[in-house]
Symmetry: C2
Amino acid sequence: MTAVDRRTEIKAKHRQSIVDAASTIMRQRLTSEFSVDELAVAADVSRRTIFNHFASIDDVVIEACGNELAEVVEHLASISPASTGTKVPIFDDLAETFRQADLITPMVYLTKVLGSDDPQLTPRQAQMSGRAFTEINERLGRELHSRHPEADPLEVGLLVSTMTNGLLVIYLHWMSECGAVDSPESRNLWSQLVERLITSLRTGFGSH
Amino acid sequence: MTAVDRRTEIKAKHRQSIVDAASTIMRQRLTSEFSVDELAVAADVSRRTIFNHFASIDDVVIEACGNELAEVVEHLASISPASTGTKVPIFDDLAETFRQADLITPMVYLTKVLGSDDPQLTPRQAQMSGRAFTEINERLGRELHSRHPEADPLEVGLLVSTMTNGLLVIYLHWMSECGAVDSPESRNLWSQLVERLITSLRTGFGSH
DNA sequence: TACACTAAATGCAACGTTGCATTCGGTGCA
DNA sequence: TGCACCGAATGCAACGTTGCATTTAGTGTA
């Protein structure tokens, strides 16, 4: 049956064209503020259809942003592949990913797109940043679970969630310190913060 | 000057009457779903005024919920008071608070108020739960910072945030396990989850 | 092809939320 | 008291979001 429900296919196409239209607008104008009507026209669907696929415009933006961060998750798969059979502790696995992944590039782009001129974060910005990280959280959770199927799901969930949460904390700190500019200094600061986070979470908070 | 800007006073009164009206409706009907008009009438202010004080109806609900959890924060102040001069590590301070505080009672109430019949969480529920915990997060952060002024703010922020995030994780787990019912078994499970969380965060994720 | 069935898209009305212009009422001063 | 000033409240129009009824178009059957 090659004729696998063409309706499903059309539905996916519509959804995709909505996300694509959002991505295009965001790249063109370096902002995530556009009207529903504008998006509907650009995606060539009705206004209402957008809300059939997404709970809100922000959700569309989040998914578009998520694609920018997708490579971070893919990066995970490429490091210390499970195929080597080497037993890498799950924590080190994750820690190494965050060390090696280039988070700066997508973070700077996202800060521009989600941000305003004001260095102070608006509530919307704060929330959107949080959700962008949650997005990574879920993707990483799935990926890690498939790579370490023997681990306790709750434990993995807590680990990933704790890590991602920590990342958000240092991201906000990094933002306020250097204004999300991509420079040698800011990259250096970021590395330090990542190390600090990893150390804190590795050794726990109980030991100092 | 006892005549300290009466306008400020009036403004605070309006804000309070909005929150109070929300609390009243929530207690009466055990739900957080009411219309803006309904709230405006109950608080005896204009519809628009509500949005002058709060970014959304959900924000009003969150603040009303926050008051339910306020005692948890107050509880913190009552345990191992700084006045004793005993040097309690900041982590133990926080851990002990979560051990001793009765989180079950407010959690069960909030689950009822925020929840639907469906045991599965709606996106709104999930978000509201998250925000209710964030609310505690901020209150605790302020409290802890004032009690341990010598500690690095970033470190304290990371600690509180990590803790609260972990609490949210086990809360969601607890919900799905026992349906947020207050019973000896559920309290027992909750204690176990709290211990598990504290242990994980105390010793870190790097050691097993 | 004709037709019934159904998922998805659409139109529309109601409610949530926001930006802006206007009104209301407290404060300070002549 | 009379008046200018200003912050908060209000009214209103526009846009975001949702629930529901209707239309459109793919699928299976005769």
